[in-house]
Symmetry: C2
């Protein structure tokens, strides 16, 4: 199955070919085109997704139609409406493709089964979850304590690839600033 | 050892007395008085902490001396500078007690050992980490998309106990609003 998934898992755990085959058998693949939706608001969410190739955004739209970006996901990132997935509640986000995307996905049932059968996989997802937690704490700190200018510069430094692949309107919705402010900042770089 | 820790673990995993004794042997206890520091900026962080009793805050102070609250922790919450703990880098936060606090703590070495020996504990921390991740995503969404008034009301609804135990100045630093705005909002409730 996916060479990319194997490489990704082996950043944290070591696997024999046989072990990886067993793991991979719990995943399915899905291809979507740019603008297609992976998850829509008000749906139950049964899977988490690993991005083999492409770029997606998870966004929340408020009552006035204004969009806020909760998460991007590109190659080797995991994505879902995690609140809906883990909490067995309906999604409040729309997840859609900013580029044609190749995904692998695993259901809640298979994820739990795999983590129960394989201590290594439970370890992988614990460690991965810790990294994710730290990244979100840093984003919270950034939202609380930095100016739009600093936030823009941090993002450019941390994810230069993202800056090239995402439109300014969408970047602004991620940074929590207006499109106009972002254009002013981008012009200075 | 701690009845509170056992009850807390058993919300996610089931343990025999013998299993719990083995787990508890990897923890140590620490008592701090109000205003004392648990972690200071620019230190390496070797432990994560479980709050048996008390209330603490993890805060970042910017170059101008302004404080931003990253996290509170009260009974049954886990706390550390997770970025420093998992990344083996120096802390950028100060963690201090808002009340006299009783803590249990486990070192990185013992946490890894315990998770390796005990699949149940690895599972516990994976699931706990997932809950934490979802809570942080909700806080990011709240910071991006809600007004100070809505943020205040969400917090009052979600953690009524916290509102009683924390000063307005500190609540404002958590919500990312000014002390004056908070007072105005609190007066209306």
């Amino acid at each position: 199955m996916s060479f990319e998934l194997k490489t990704h898992l082996e950043e944290i755990i070591s696997l024999t070919d046989q072990e990886f085959e067993h793991i991979a058998a719990h995943f399915k693949s899905k291809n979507l085109k740019k603008h297609q939706y992976l998850i829509q608001e008000d749906e139950f969410v049964h899977n988490i997704y690993f991005v083999v190739k492409g770029l997606l955004k998870a966004a929340f739209t408020d009552a006035n139609g204004k969009e806020y970006i909760i998460q991007f996901a590109m190659e080797n990132w995991w994505l879902s409406d995690f609140r809906a997935f883990y909490g067995n509640v309906k999604s409040i986000t729309n997840i859609s493709c900013l580029e044609n995307s190749e995904l692998l996905y695993i259901s809640k049932e298979n994820l739990d089964k795999l983590c129960q059968e394989s201590h290594k996989m439970e370890h992988f997802f614990r460690v991965k979850g810790n990294f994710g937690y730290v990244a979100l704490q840093q984003r919270i700190l950034s939202l609380l304590s930095t100016s739009p200018k600093e936030r823009f510069e941090q993002l450019a430094l941390q994810y230069p690839q993202l800056m090239q692949r995402v439109s300014k309107t969408i970047l602004a919705a991620y940074l929590g600033i207006s499109r106009e402010t972002l254009s002013r900042l981008a012009a200075k770089v």
